[in-house]
């Protein structure tokens, strides 16, 4: 076959890149997602377009469940709503057996609306409005208390409803990682937890039945979880002995890494990020060895990112190309940081819909916003991209669809590729009507 003509060019030779031969151009081509051609997706649903794979969502959930359950007999997965609370995504995880982890009245309402019974909701978060707190109590949700003021609120609710409320305590502690998140719950090392426990016992309206901690996000040290589990176990035993409570669950929160590449991580994710099996093993080992047989507490995991991130793709299109003053090539895409909030912290995998001729060269990918910060990727190695080329960015499943903004432009469609290959819209594109519906024009301005 005759090779297409390529313009000659001179590029600087780069050595020592930590990439093997396979990770060259070939890997940067993605013609389809779950068997559906990218071209067809764009033609039918437009660009930009978020695409989720049901198969990947379910496979990942089943993989993680198999992994954790084969290491530890009592595990509950609680789907972290803030990671992605699209109805379709939540429903898939609930179908697979996950409960709902919510942190606000909005998320609580959303879970209830999806038909999740109160007892299958874990209510975290630093601010739980009084109203929703009472509803959660009445519906039997598991509430993890964040502050003393919340305890006072709950005691009042207990008085009103005349029932003893079973709660969880949020704990922060030193597990040897940096930065230490100490804003959630009560500190362990300073003894705050015990004095709060004493106060709860004295009030005799509440009863502690669980412990919760959330150490941080994208934690790269499995040992940190083992240490957290150990410390919580010790604390649980102490609370049981001292106050006669029955600590039924230990909630280790989330923070498990996905295969995204955080900025500042030098190694590629396959090398730099420990596999999740290591996390499972360490956590299970410290729980199994630290408890009396048969008394193994329920282990709750609020895995978000690691479940959903890799099932999400964003298809975007090159709308124009220019040279910057320093000679770098720049492309303007139709998706920017308005849709990709995580672009501030993570590098995405950038794939092209088809093989393109031409040597790769460093270039910058800008979004469509009229803002200097709208940079999707500062330094991507891509061949010359003709106008209209579709790029596929991944993983983008986590946090983007909850933190995206209606800013300057509309938010696009989200589709789900079902297990049998059918494509379904799970969120329609925004219209002017959606945006202005809540606006009110005062009489004198009409």
């Amino acid at each position: 076959m005759k090779k297409p003509y390529q313009k000659p060019s001179i590029i600087k030779l780069r050595v020592g890149l930590l990439r093997d031969k396979k990770s060259g151009l070939l890997r940067m081509v993605r013609r389809e997602i779950d068997g559906v051609p990218v071209k067809d997706l764009v033609r039918k649903f437009g660009s930009p377009l978020f695409v989720f794979s049901e198969k990947r969502l379910r496979d990942q959930f089943r993989y993680l469940r198999r992994l954790f359950e084969s290491h530890y007999p009592r595990v509950e997965f609680s789907w972290s709503y803030k990671t992605n609370y699209l109805d379709a995504i939540c429903r898939i995880f609930h179908q697979e057996g996950a409960s709902a982890e919510v942190v606000s009245d909005f998320e609580y309402h959303k879970a209830r609306r999806l038909g999740v019974p109160g007892e299958n909701i874990i209510f975290n978060g630093p601010y739980k409005p009084r109203e929703i707190l009472k509803q959660a109590v009445l519906e039997g949700a598991r509430i993890n208390v964040d502050s003393m003021d919340e305890i006072l609120d709950l005691e009042e609710i207990a008085r009103e409803t005349g029932q003893k409320i079973r709660i969880g305590l949020r704990i922060n502690m030193d597990t040897g990682i940096y930065p230490r998140w100490d804003r959630f719950g009560f500190n362990l090392e300073s003894g705050e937890v015990l004095s709060v426990a004493r106060r709860i016992a004295a009030g005799d309206r509440l009863e502690v039945m669980g412990l919760h901690c959330h150490q941080g996000t994208f934690i790269l040290d499995p040992e940190a979880y083992a240490r957290a589990a150990e410390k919580l176990l010790r604390l649980a035993r102490k609370l049981e002995e001292e106050f006669g409570w029955n600590i039924e669950y230990l909630d280790l929160g989330g923070g498990f890494p996905s295969r995204s590449r955080p900025k500042g991580l030098y190694l590629p994710p396959e090398v730099g990020i420990p596999p999740l099996s290591e996390y499972a093993e360490r956590i299970a080992r410290s729980l199994l060895l630290g408890t009396m047989a048969r008394d193994y507490p329920l282990l709750v995991l609020e895995i978000g990112r690691a479940l959903v991130d890799e099932a999400g793709f964003l298809i975007t299109t090159v709308r124009s190309t220019k040279r910057l003053a320093d000679g770098r090539r720049a492309h303007i895409l139709d998706a920017g940081v308005n849709l990709l909030f995580t672009a501030f912290w993570y590098h995405f995998r950038i794939e092209i819909e088809r093989e393109l001729p031409g040597p790769p060269e460093p270039c910058t990918l800008y979004g469509p916003l009229c803002m200097n910060i709208d940079v999707v990727e500062e330094n991507a190695w891509l061949p010359p991209l003709p106008r209209g080329t579709h790029l596929i960015l991944s993983p983008v499943g986590a946090y983007n669809l909850t933190q995206w903004m209606q800013f300057i432009t509309y938010r696009p469609r989200v589709v789900l590729i079902g297990e049998s290959g059918q494509v379904e819209v799970i969120r329609e594109a925004e219209t002017l009507e959606d945006v202005v519906r809540r606006e009110r024009l005062p009489e004198h301005l009409r």
Binding site: S70, E119, A293, Y296
Partner: protein
């Protein structure tokens, strides 16, 4: 006087016990029949058994006397045999008393020896020995007055030869070889157990017809009173010591037929000494059958005879199908595993080692590893925790053998690193192919169920990492294996209990939740008030109490009916029901025969229901007879499905009946609400209040 009641019951039971019907009323009936038809016979028997009791009492064996249950019929039978030959007088009284004491001692010792060494019942062996002794001894006692006229009857019905022969034989069991007492005895059998009545006739005819075939003389065959042996053999084999079933019936007929030559032979043998043959053939044949069946681990031997074959069958149908006899273990792994090789497996589970399981982890595609499986770490099962399936003591632990790489196996040490745990229930559990250096327990440790033992590996004869588990009778590795079941597990979202998953099936442990364990831990002294509402809106209030039966089982009672319950493995069970079908307690059983202690939406399970909660008494008796012939005729089954963490619904069907049930547990303790719908029933049972007493 209260202490006398069990003794009287026991003595009465001994009368009917001869026909395997230990029931005081039946006993009283037979006692009256004997005494009325032949006072001499009746009194002799009574005197003999009373002297046995007094002797037992004198020796301090009162409790043992009672415990012998209906085998105390041995002194009675010896008394009858003496009364048959001799008139009652001062001398024969002494003779009776002596023989009564002698036979009691024989029964007491023999029953202990037989059950200890051979696991066999004593039957009427002591009677055979006692009566022969009495007959031989009486040669010298010329002062005894021979009963010149054996019991005579003023009326003799004209019956077909076979029927007369049958009734005569039935009467001969009580030394009254005459159709009239035979007919009355048959009536008693019929009232108390249709199965026994049927067996008595079938056994007699089978044996006697064979005898007719061999001797060629119908008259001889049908008039031989010794043919009562066939009746007893059929009763014992078909209905008492085996669970009544088509199989047991066939075995009973076979045993009766097999006994034909023996009956003939022993008759001729004892005739030489001028002695009656008595029940020796019955004893010999029945014991032989039982011993052989026991040796071959026949699965349907009666463990505990419940008074009638019907009751034994009923118990077997709902208890033993729900809780088999094999020891139950907990699932020794965490998460979802797959049975790679089951009992009598394709590869290595053969011969004496057939009752074993090999477990692996598989993914959605059924593979046991990722990638190409060239590395041990690719295997899902590799280095996954293994837990103790029992509570017991570690008696052996082998460590230090390396994990074999995939595809290879250690032939010299096939078990690899393994652990042997002694369970005080009387067996040893073996878990093998553990990864070296991962044991968390050591030899001599006492460990409880669920203790972390070590990690799964591929040491020994293990082409890929897997867990091997079996139980065996001795402490040495390689002792023959024994069958076992898992007390509970999940199979694709279905709760299973007291069974083993077949090959290729998955299983997952179903550990109980503390909260549900607590909610369903109904304690002595708890009192729950319920109201029951029917369709017409009428309300009725009733209270339930928790009480304990003498054998230690707990039950709920409304004052009359009793609903037995227990927590076993990972579920709460209603075990049995005693009482009227009109008691509201019955609905509790229907609504929740078994509650997994880890309810969650979509969890499914099934259960069998005992006949007494679905059928009125008479119908139930009829069905039991039919069920012994066609075991699959009626299996009242319920299918249940959890809706939330505290409630579930179910569907019950048997015959044309269908019920929909709904149960909700109280968040604190016990049952909150039960709804029943279907087959003309529409009611709700709702908790009103409850109180706890001291």
């Amino acid at each position: 006087m209260r202490g006398l009641k069990p003794v009287i019951t026991s003595i009465l039971n001994s009368y009917s016990g001869i026909l395997f019907l230990p029931h005081p009323l039946a006993g009283l009936g037979i006692l009256i029949l004997l005494t009325l038809l032949s006072p001499n016979l009746g009194l002799s028997g009574l005197i003999c058994v009373l002297s046995a009791y007094l002797a037992a009492r004198f020796l301090g064996l009162r409790e043992d006397f009672l415990r012998l249950d209906f085998y105390i019929y041995n002194p009675l039978l010896v008394g009858l045999s003496i009364g048959y030959f001799f008139r009652i007088g001062p001398l024969s009284l002494i003779f009776l008393a002596l023989m009564g004491i002698f036979t009691f001692l024989l029964t007491y010792s023999l029953s202990s020896a037989l059950s200890y060494y051979f696991r066999l019942p004593v039957l009427s062996l002591p009677f055979v020995m006692g009566s022969i002794t009495a007959a031989l001894a009486s040669y010298r006692y010329s002062n005894l007055f021979v009963a010149l006229h054996p019991p005579e009857f003023f009326w003799s019905p004209h019956l077909p030869l076979w029927l007369e022969g049958f009734l005569r034989s039935l009467g001969a069991i009580f030394f009254m070889p005459h159709p009239v007492p035979g007919l009355i005895l048959f009536g008693i059998l019929l009232v108390f157990s249709r199965i026994l009545a049927l067996l008595s006739l079938a056994g007699y005819l089978a044996g006697t017809l064979t005898s007719y075939l061999l001797t060629g003389s119908a008259h001889q065959a049908f008039s031989d009173p010794n043919h009562f042996n066939f009746v007893l053999i059929a009763l014992a084999t078909g209905g008492v010591f085996l669970i009544p079933s088509p199989e047991s019936y066939l075995l009973a007929l076979m045993a009766s037929v097999v006994a034909v030559p023996l009956t003939e032979a022993s008759g001729i043998f004892w005739e030489k000494f001028g002695l009656p043959a008595f029940a020796l053939p019955f004893n010999l044949v029945t014991l032989l059958m039982l011993y052989s069946l026991g040796l071959s681990r026949y699965r349907k031997l009666t463990l505990y005879y419940r008074g009638t074959p019907e009751r034994t069958l009923d118990y077997y149908l709902h208890r033993e199908t729900r809780f088999p006899r094999d020891p139950d273990l907990e699932v020794p792994v965490s998460g979802k595993w797959t049975v790679w090789q089951g009992p009598n497996g394709r590869f290595t589970h053969k011969g004496a080692w057939r009752y074993a399981l090999d477990l692996v982890i598989t993914d959605e595609e059924g593979r046991t590893h990722t990638g190409e499986g060239l590395d041990l770490n690719d295997y899902y099962a590799y280095r996954k925790p293994i837990f103790s399936p029992v509570t017991g003591r570690v008696v052996e632990l082998v460590d230090g053998l390396p994990d074999e790489p995939p595809g290879s196996a250690n032939r010299d040490y096939p078990w690899g690193n393994h652990i042997i745990i002694y369970d005080p229930r009387g067996f040893y559990v073996v878990l093998a192919h553990i990864s070296p250096g991962t044991f968390r327990v050591k030899k001599g440790d006492w460990i409880v169920k669920g203790t972390l033992l070590g990690l799964c590996g591929s040491s020994g004869y293990a082409p890929e990492p897997h867990l091997h588990i079996h139980i065996q009778s001795g402490p040495e590795i390689g002792t023959p294996t024994l069958p076992f079941v898992f007390s509970s597990y999940l199979k694709n979202g279905e709760f299973r209990d007291f069974s083993l998953p077949p090959e290729k099936e998955t299983l997952e442990p179903a550990p109980p939740e503390k909260r549900l364990q607590h909610i369903l831990n109904l304690l002595l002294g708890d009192r729950y008030i319920y109201e029951i509402l029917d369709r017409k809106g009428s309300r009725q209030t009733f209270a339930l109490r928790v009480e304990m039966a003498p054998d230690g089982t707990f039950y709920l009672t409304d004052g009359k009916a009793r609903l037995y319950f227990a927590q076993r493995g990972s579920a709460f069970y209603f075990l049995g029901y005693d009482g009227s079908i009109r008691s509201p307690l019955r609905w509790f059983f229907l609504a929740a025969p078994k509650i997994p202690l880890a309810l969650r939406p979509h969890l499914r399970w099934t259960d069998y229901l005992p006949l007494e909660v679905v059928l009125p008494p008479l119908k139930k008796e009829l069905y039991l007879l039919l069920l012994s012939l066609y075991p699959s005729l009626l299996k009242p089954r319920g299918r249940y499905r959890a809706l939330g963490k505290l409630d579930f619904e179910g569907e019950i069907f048997y015959g044309k009946q269908r019920f929909k049930v709904y149960t909700r547990l109280a968040p604190q303790k016990g049952f909150e609400e039960i709804k029943i719908q279907g087959s003309g029933v529409f009611l709700t049972i709702r908790r009103k209040e409850d109180e706890r007493q001291g």
